[in-house]
């Protein structure tokens, strides 16, 4: 099927890379070079940090010194922002890489005694730009001028003149603006910015904070109208460049072992498709993590890097639990084939988790990823569209050809519970574990509810977990599949 050609601008804009993880991907190379970009958002959303990162990376990585006209932050806060990126503001100034001019806008009450313009601002900016031969400029936040000067006609005319001044000198600039109630910015700066507008959003729902970046306008570049989650951590801003892909990933045909030979048998004797997504669901204590651990162990034995995201148990708990069933994961950790990353699900919102997951995957490039469990993530999502976020994650994993396994807690026998319904349609293979007590003797069972692209066995088998390890027993014939599925129509809903 022919792919749609991407839109091509008549005069493609050159771009200035920001150096901010994920943002250059999302903008197709960075901000429009030699133009003014507006970054708007409410207080605390990260606009000053974004602008500062743009300047610092510009100076340090791309050889473009920068000037910051700071209208609001104190010197302390600015220095802290820069320090958080690993740089010292004074060093940067000394080496003529970054200059800051703190502009104090005082409130004048009867200040205005006749005609005036803002040439003083132009002179200060020009002076700083000349001093270090700057190529980048940040005005943060220029809307502060509105509170100090009462004649908004003059102010607006001068702002227009200022943006032209910047473009004439081919300076790539970021202007920050405070979010307005009904307009993008309080004072309508977006009217003067033709080329690029980025909006940052920071919401706290049920004590979970989520941050999102949206490209409102980017002339000359076809951009998605998607919102991208981002996080702010010790290294600055990371944007998660996950888009709703058009299912364009290749379907791989090679297979990988599940780590449990009898389970491989149930899957045409070959195991999972490489790059596929696997869901393992079951009630508490049914052995989901053990199945995940076996899978990971087999992958490490093949020399493949594995990334295990633990959202419920600490890595040391997992290592201990697995060794009690004869599974030594610690040797893979020591050989740096298995990497654990533990996070409390309530530490941040779903977008924050996705951002962290994406960042780690991009850094470590594993072949196998386990998310154990996904249950709490889904319930931590608050108002945002869970399905959309998870779709993007699974799509991303498939494009990277990473085989992924997700565990999910179901509270009762119905596998559709917990995260089941949101997640199951994204999964290629769905393995269900449950407890049962036929004839009074308790036992664990495993069956494959679905597995796309292969003829899989649908018969349940006993899951035996002992000090010797994890094995599957014989096929169970004492009850049929139909009676074990909570609701036959639920099976039809699966897909």
């Amino acid at each position: 099927m022919p792919r749609a050609r991407p839109k091509v601008a008549r005069r493609p804009l050159a771009k200035a890379p920001t150096g901010i993880q994920g943002l250059d991907e999302v903008t197709g190379g960075g901000l429009p070079k030699g133009r003014v970009t507006l970054v708007c958002g409410s207080a605390g959303c990260g606009k000053s940090l974004l602008a500062m990162e743009f300047l610092v990376h510009g100076a340090v990585r791309y050889g473009e010194p920068g000037v910051c006209m700071d209208f609001e932050e104190t010197e302390e806060k600015l220095r802290a922002n820069v320090a958080s990126l690993g740089f010292d503001l004074r060093d940067l100034a000394r080496s003529k890489k970054l200059l800051v001019d703190y502009v104090a806008v005082e409130r004048h009450e009867i200040a205005e005694t006749g005609e005036y313009n803002l040439e003083g601002l132009f002179i200060r900016l020009g002076h700083a730009v000349k001093a270090i031969k700057a190529k980048r400029v940040v005005l943060d936040s220029i809307e502060a001028l509105f509170s100090g000067l009462t004649d908004s006609t003059i102010l607006r005319a001068e702002l227009r003149r200022l943006f032209q001044w910047l473009e004439e000198r081919k300076l790539t600039a970021i202007v920050t603006g405070e979010a307005g109630e009904h307009t993008l910015t309080r004072h309508g700066l977006e009217e003067y910015i033709a080329d690029c507008v980025i909006a940052l959003d920071h919401r706290v729902t049920e004590q979970l904070s989520t941050r999102r970046l949206r490209i409102v306008k980017y002339r000359g570049t076809s951009h998605g109208t998607d919102e991208y989650p981002f996080l702010i951590d010790r290294e600055g801003i990371s944007v998660v460049p996950l888009t709703s892909l058009a299912l364009a990933h290749k379907a791989l045909t090679d297979r990988v072992s599940t780590g449990i030979p009898a389970l491989d048998e149930m899957l045409e004797g070959k195991g999972f498709f490489r790059g596929s997504s696997v869901l393992v669901s079951g009630t508490s204590g049914t052995g989901k993590s053990s199945v995940a651990a076996k899978f990971v162990s087999a992958a490490c034995a093949r020399g493949e890097d594995c990334l295990y995201f633990a959202f419920e148990e600490s890595p040391s708990q997992i290592l201990r639990n697995m060794s009690s069933v004869g599974l030594d994961l610690e040797r893979w950790v020591k050989r740096r084939l298995l990497y654990f990353h533990a996070m409390r699900p309530t530490s941040t919102g779903l977008e924050g988790h996705l951002a962290a997951i994406h960042k780690l995957i991009a850094k470590l490039r594993p072949k196998v990823v386990v998310i154990d469990p996904i249950t709490n993530l889904v319930s931590a999502s608050g108002a945002y569209d869970v399905k959309s976020m998870l779709t993007r994650l699974v799509d991303f994993l498939k494009v990277e050809q990473i085989t992924s396994m997700f565990t999910n807690l179901a509270w009762s026998g119905d596998p559709q519970q917990g995260a089941g319904s949101a997640v199951s349609s994204l999964m290629d293979t769905w393995i269900v574990l449950r407890d049962s007590k036929p004839n009074g003797r308790p036992r664990r069972e495993l069956y494959v509810l679905k597995s796309r692209g292969m003829a899989h066995s649908r018969e349940p088998r006993e899951l035996i977990v002992s000090k010797r390890g994890i094995e599957l027993g014989m096929v169970l014939t004492d009850h049929t599949l139909a009676s074990t599925v909570a609701d036959p129509s639920a099976a039809a809903k699966v897909k």
């Binding site: 004048h108 200040a111 005694t113 006749g114 005036y116 313009n117 601002l121 002179i123 200060r124 000067l149």
Partner: protein, 108 residues
């Protein structure tokens, strides 16, 4: 019109409360700036009876001086003495505003 650099200090001959030191920032000899200078001279002559010194700083010649007094608008008039420092902007055509803004107490 006196032009002097910022840091020269001369002992006031009269007690501080009675002597005005005013600094006018301009950016080149634009019509607005020239008007401001003229307006300022008139206001001082009418109200301060010689007990004043006007200093004009052209930021096109000395851009580095804009930072110190936090100059954004042009023209800006800064009252340096007597304290406290006061700042007003505009070409000084609205005389009332100038007098109130600078807190000029007419000297009898």
């Amino acid at each position: 019109m006196k032009k002097s650099s910022a840091k020269k200090r001369r002992p006031a001959k009269t007690p501080p409360g009675d002597f005005y030191r005013l600094r006018l920032y301009i950016a080149g000899q634009t019509p607005n700036s020239i008007a401001a200078i003229a307006n300022l001279k008139k206001i001082c002559e009418d109200n301060l009876r010689g007990k004043y010194r006007i200093e004009v700083v052209d930021l096109l010649e000395k851009p580095q001086l804009a930072k110190g007094d936090q100059i954004i608008a042009i023209p800006t008039l800064v009252r340096r003495l007597p304290p406290p420092v006061k700042k007003i902007i505009g070409n000084l055509s609205k005389t009332e505003n100038v007098i109130v803004g600078l807190d000029l107490q007419p000297i009898p």
